[in-house]
Amino acid sequence: MAGRFVEGSRRVSIDTGPVTPALEHAAEKAARRRGLRLALPGFSYLTFFFALPLVIVFVYSFATRSATGRTLLEGWNLESYRRLANPLVLEIAWRSLWLAVLATVICLVLAYPFSYFIATRGPVLRNVLLVLVMIPFWSNFLVRTYAWRVLLGSDGPVSRLTEFLGLGETRILFTPTAVLIGLVYGFLPFMVLPLYASIERIDWSLVEASRDLYASGWQSFRRVTWPLSRPGVIAGSILVFIPSLGAYVTPEILGGAKTTLLGSYIVTQFLAARNWPFGSAMSFAVMAVMLAATLIYFRSGAKTL
């Protein structure tokens, strides 16, 4: 409880006589009520506009689709979940998973030395470097993805450059590579910021101590710096992996017909194919995978995102 002000637990009535257990109990009860009153608007809003919708999706995933594409809330069945084992769905799921893992690894490889570099500069330079990361972090995701469409287009700057160098036209747009570049570009700031936060907090005297004890640079990194920065590595990886797995905007703008990912496939079920029960089942399955990933993250000792 040190330093934490929990109302009702410490401060009791000020101007009356002796503090009786009954008075203390009353004060605690009043404080609990005040806490509940503050929580009530948020709790009821999220129950009604978040938990209830979640339940509705779950219910829909067992519903029947009529021949015309209407969802009939009757004849409950597991057909939609059975379809998840369909080879096409598995192929899309496998591709999404693969791209998400690859995007996460590339982000980590780029961001770790980058964050380390920022964290080991002097205070002034460090602030400037951080602001330069904040700008892409706050910039519109759609716009940043679109920028790659301009860059990679058939008469875009990248293609011009490779033609000029005699390498011929580049045809990356609408391939999985373009989607991967888009994912890395889009989510890299989410990796940098938690990594920076955890590297910056490292007690460097521990690293120095390891060097004094004749550890090589690599050894002290492996045994001291890396383990100490692991919360940032895990937080950053989750923050990149989850949105990459459910990505919709990136494959839609940079991908082609052969790069359908889970996110776009779910959207198709709702806006084009009109198979809501199947779309609901898929959303639910994707969400379950992400919740599992997040639970692993919290189990690994992190307290907050």
């Binding site: 401060r11 806490g35 999220l46 080991t120 301009v150 287009g153 690293v207 060097r211 959303s283």
Partner: protein, 277 residues
């Protein structure tokens, strides 16, 4: 405070090189986009001469202006509501103990963890179902539109505001609040005169994040939008799917400038945080 052991020699040079590459990667696409928005040619890849032609067309384009207005309305409503509700939620979780607190905590985290596509599906099915019930019970025919978009944005924004404000509350010293209470300040006065000014940087930061998320959202909005209620990102997304155009470059540049203003604002509030604590 001690700064890190600064590596020397080859490792240091590799670190510097990697950082240059990452910054180039971050900024080159943005600059290319801005550069081409000033190109007079209809064909994006072919540079003819600098001009403001596409900015002129943008401001005369009714669809762009209407969707910009819709975006601002939704962002304003969802930011104000989410900031108030989210701040109250943060206070209740950090400063009080009550039954059901852990459930509330988990419920608050879910909208952050859940992928946009799932959230979009949830909101669409919810509104379809709710409108069905409303039509059956009262005979009113409700439609998807700015209302459903705002309600959905509030749902994800509450959580983000609460996380930011909680971070601020957790690192805050409670001595001043206790001192105010000892000096016979009423609970409301303590909140108004002590707690609120102290957590203001957090509240402002949360509000800015909510504003940004609302102005950026494509996926959830495109599910719960209705006739005449297109927001700017949804409109741009529809155009982008058709291909590259200089008009989109101009709109994009405008959106980038808006983001930079938000960055500047958030830095300003962070600076205030440092002097306040």
């Amino acid at each position: 405070m001690r700064t890190g052991t600064r590596p020397r020699g080859l490792v240091e040079r590799l670190l510097v090189a990697n950082s240059w590459i990452v910054y180039l990667f971050f900024y080159a696409p943005i600059f290319v986009l801005i550069f081409f928005s000033f190109n007079d040619n209809r064909n994006v890849g072919v540079w003819t001469k600098p001009s403001l032609r596409w900015y002129g067309e943008m401001f005369q384009n009714d669809d762009v202006m209407r969707s910009l207005r819709n975006s601002l309305i939704v962002a304003a409503i969802s930011t104000v509501v989410a900031t108030i509700v989210g701040t109250a939620a943060a206070l209740s979780l950090e400063r009080y103990r009550y039954r059901g607190q852990r459930t509330f905590d988990a419920l608050l985290y879910l909208p952050i963890i859940i992928p946009d596509v799932t959230m979009a599906v949830m909101m669409l099915l919810f509104f379809v179902q709710a409108f069905d019930i409303a039509a059956g019970a009262f005979g009113t025919r409700l439609q998807l539109g700015l209302g459903s978009i705002s309600l959905s944005h509030i749902a994800f924004n509450i959580s983000f505001v609460a996380v930011v404000v909680r971070a601020r509350l957790a690192q805050m010293n409670t001595d001043l609040e206790e001192a105010a209470a000892d000096l016979y300040a009423t609970r409301w006065m303590t909140f108004r005169k002590v707690t609120l000014p102290l957590i203001m940087p957090g509240v402002a930061g949360g509000a800015l994040l909510a504003l940004t998320l609302s102005l950026d959202d494509v996926v959830v909005t495109s599910f719960v939008t209705g006739p005449g209620a297109t927001t700017l990102p949804v409109y741009v997304f529809g155009l982008v799917k058709l291909g590259v155009s200089p008009l989109i470059n101009a709109v994009s540049t405008l959106m980038l400038v808006a983001s930079m203003v938000l960055v500047a604002a958030s830095l300003y509030f962070q600076r205030r945080t440092k002097t306040a604590s």
